[in-house]
């Protein structure tokens, strides 16, 4: 990275080039024990802990590697899958949960829906490796089984509600549909790998019924999955989309028409609220206007991936949306995290630092989406350093990134944030 440029949003590289860029950037934050970096999320920012995270970034990374191998037939992607799976397995704790799996709340273990989402992708990866003639890494297979036995069924299964709890967002008499859906996907994926459908059927059936119970059926939220079963006034579009593949898979397994109907209804809600070329709210409320900002392109890519996986969209349907996604690419190869943090800013003001801060989990989601559309011809990416004006609270600042470091400085050049890549903690964190 020698040339320093000012990135302009209109520079839109092609898909193959953007994929190459994302891969190059991900390499700058990857070490032997995982993918590093700070996290800017919906509800929180984790800027101090920059060590490896074992959250839904692995879902996107594994799915992307599968898609890339399918497109290019390059065996290096299978090697990458094997490597990522063994790193993920090594992060498991003795109670079945995974270290640092809470994404924006890292470093904490037991993240939902992160853990089951990552392991459901691991199941898909295991099946793909087997199909590709590779041996199945035993570590991750044991790890998935242990997670299901020890954590999912023993600690998170709620006998009263016949569904899965998510302690962080719900009380015992409540549940978060997106977490339930991730757990269902994992159980169905595990059953497909291990051939043990009988063992998980009643859990999948109970959890699927709880999703149907939670689904909204009137007004602007018609078809939506609420944030939690009891908090029925709001739906996060990105998290609601996570329920789509779970409903469709459960319908295939259980042959229950109500599940397909629920999926259709949910898809219609997503169609109304998740068009990249139109309005794409993050939160939809029953009794007040939808909240559009900040817009997370990575999360939006996740929505499209869910609809792709559930069969409600084809790659051809997704393709027209991609141009806008590419607008968020930074010259470093990563993607901007968001647009519109710090609402009510004047149009001419520079973006908030949280909009620019590249995050492994969000970049991986866009990488996975683009990988689905990859033409097969690989390109190389000449990564460039990034220097962009940003707002830090109400003041001017500069965002600077190169291969080795990521910095935010104030107008006088004083570092407000300084992270040396692949280090667990930043040198400076005054954000």
């Amino acid at each position: 990275m020698s040339t320093v440029i000012n990135a302009a949003p209109s520079q839109t590289p092609g898909i193959a080039s953007a994929v190459a860029g994302a891969e190059a950037w991900l390499e700058t934050v990857r070490d032997e024990d995982g993918y590093y970096g700070p996290v800017v999320g919906f509800r929180n920012t984790s800027m101090a802990y920059c060590g490896p995270g074992f959250d839904w970034r692995y879902e996107a990374l594994l799915d992307a590697a599968i898609a890339m191998h399918r497109a290019t037939r390059d065996g290096a992607y299978l090697d990458r899958i094997e490597q990522d799976l063994s790193v993920l397995a090594a992060a498991q704790l003795e109670n079945g949960a995974f270290r640092n799996s809470y994404f924006e709340f890292n470093p904490f273990e037991g993240g939902m829906p992160h853990e089951p989402a990552a392991l459901a992708a691991a199941c898909r990866a295991l099946r793909y490796l087997k199909k590709a003639g590779r041996g199945v890494p035993s570590g991750i297979a044991r790890s998935i089984e242990f997670y299901i036995e020890r954590r999912l069924l023993k600690e998170l299964w709620n006998k009263l509600l016949q569904t899965f709890n998510d302690w962080e967002t719900s009380e015992f008499t409540d549940y978060a549909p997106c977490s339930v859906a991730a757990a269902m996907e994992l159980l169905i994926g595990y059953a497909a790998c291990a051939g043990t459908w009988e063992k998980v059927e009643r859990y999948v059936s109970g959890a699927a019924a709880s999703l149907v119970r939670a689904q909204q059926s009137a007004g602007v939220l018609d078809g939506a999955m609420p944030l939690t079963h009891r908090n029925r006034n709001a739906a996060n579009v990105y998290l609601a989309a996570r329920c789509l593949p779970a409903l469709v898979e459960a319908h295939k397994r259980l042959d229950d028409a109500s599940l397909q109907q629920a999926a259709d209804k949910l898809n219609r809600f997503l169609e109304r609220n998740a068009a990249l070329d139109g309005p794409a709210p993050r939160l939809v409320f029953a009794s007040r206007p939808a909240s559009f900002l900040p817009f997370f392109p990575g999360a939006f890519a996740g929505t499209l991936l869910c609809r792709l996986r559930a069969g409600f969209m084809t790659q051809a349907d997704v393709a027209p949306h991609v141009a806008r996604a590419l607008d968020y690419a930074l010259p470093s190869g990563a993607f901007r995290t968001a647009e519109g943090f710090g609402a009510l800013r004047t149009p001419k003001a520079p973006p908030d630092w949280r909009d620019i801060m590249p995050v492994c989990g969000w970049t991986a989601k866009l990488y996975a989406l683009l990988a689905e559309l990859h033409p097969g011809q690989r390109e190389t990416h000449a990564a460039k350093a990034v220097r962009l004006p940003v707002r830090v609270r109400r003041r001017q600042g500069v965002f600077i990134e190169d291969d080795a470091t990521l910095r935010i400085e104030d107008a006088q050049g004083k570092p407000l944030y300084h992270w040396v890549k692949k280090q667990r903690w930043p040198q400076e964190c005054a954000l």
């Binding site: 060590g51 003795e94 109670n95 904490f108 008499t173 609402a343 903690w425």
Partner: protein
Amino acid sequence: MERPSPAEAFWRLSMERRSTRLFQETPVPPDVIRRLVHAAIQAPTSCNRQLWHFVIVTDPAVKARMSRLGDDEAQSYLYDAPAIIAVFYDTTMESRNPCCTPVITAGMAIYGLLLAAEAEGLGAIYLGGIRSPRGVAAALHAPEHLQNFGLVCLGYRDDEPAVPERRSVDEVISFNAVGGADKLCHPDIRPHVWKLRQLADFREKILWYKGIGIDGKTLHVNPDPRFSPKFRYMIDRLGMLIARRKKPAALDIFSHNADLALQLLNACAPDIGALYAYDLTEGIADFMRQRLRGIVNSDAIAFLVNPDDAAIRIPLPDNSIDVISCYERLGHFEDPLPLAREMHRVLKPDGTAMVVVSNRFYPHLYRYRRTLRKNYALGRNWDYGPERKFEPKEAATLFQHAGFRIRSLTGLEPATVKVVSTAERLCRKLRWHGLGDWIIDWRDQRFATQSWSRYVSKTLVYELEKR
């Protein structure tokens, strides 16, 4: 096989009975439940009135209604247990009895139930943490004169409950007059007015009451304290302090539940040279050891115990620790100076101590809320209890006397956050949602502050170094 004598059978039953919190789904046969109730009603009653009534609840919908109206939705065993026995007693005749005979009678019947359950090979737990027994009564359509005295959860055991150590008979007995009870009993609910021995005893007993290994299932009883923003701030700062040094020795002082030690291992195990957790008794250290064993490699932590009840003494040499953390624990001492001096003694000359205390200049509303609700109890969540709060000047003087220099003082959750939250709610009412969003964003970015508002923050975080 030889049958045990009645005395042997009684002793075995008494010694082996444990509270069960994880149950299998297998239903309890009705005739077994009838036998348990038969045992319960053999208990003595005042004036032979026998005015008790037992309601067996097996229907999940009734359980849910009972838990909702009883204001006790957070207890997992209420749902997991295949059968619940709600114990009622008619208190009309004895409502003014000075020895609370209806309560005692119900208690004796409940103990009979628990022993009978043990004898039948079942697991059981008496649930006395119900906030509204009246709600339970209403949920079960009980008439006005029948008072609920709690619930017994019943089922086949799915756990191996830990065995909390019982006090010795000598500790709890005296002849002809009360003697020695003040050693462990508490004359006041405020921990900082207790003697060191009372504090140590309370900490140890409260940690053990739920046993080990069910944390994942029951964390929801209280919000996981590790998710509080101030805990996360502490971990972030400690992680950065540790990362700046080469394989430092870190010491955590009085980590409740070993949470801080657990997080440090999760987040910075490769960076730490040695990690110590210091607490008051061997029982507490044993609890932390056993709890962590089910989650992480607990061998990575050295547990240190205060040598005796007489005074605070950290069993480490002088100048041996690089980073010290003490999270909301100074407030447990009327005179925290000895603890601060010990921290100073073991800290290396270039080390850092991070001490978190509650600020007296903050309106801690929970006090008033709990006073209004009149159901205050110093339970497992005693972090939010009535322990001592510090004025910033008072804390500064304390650290100065202990030999520290304050490198930085950060306020967490300033009172301004509360004010702007009110403004945000007003914006929502006026449908100014854009402004409301902006206020939320402003608020979230100012949780930790080093401006003037730190003096009116809920929590004060001191980073200290040796003078």
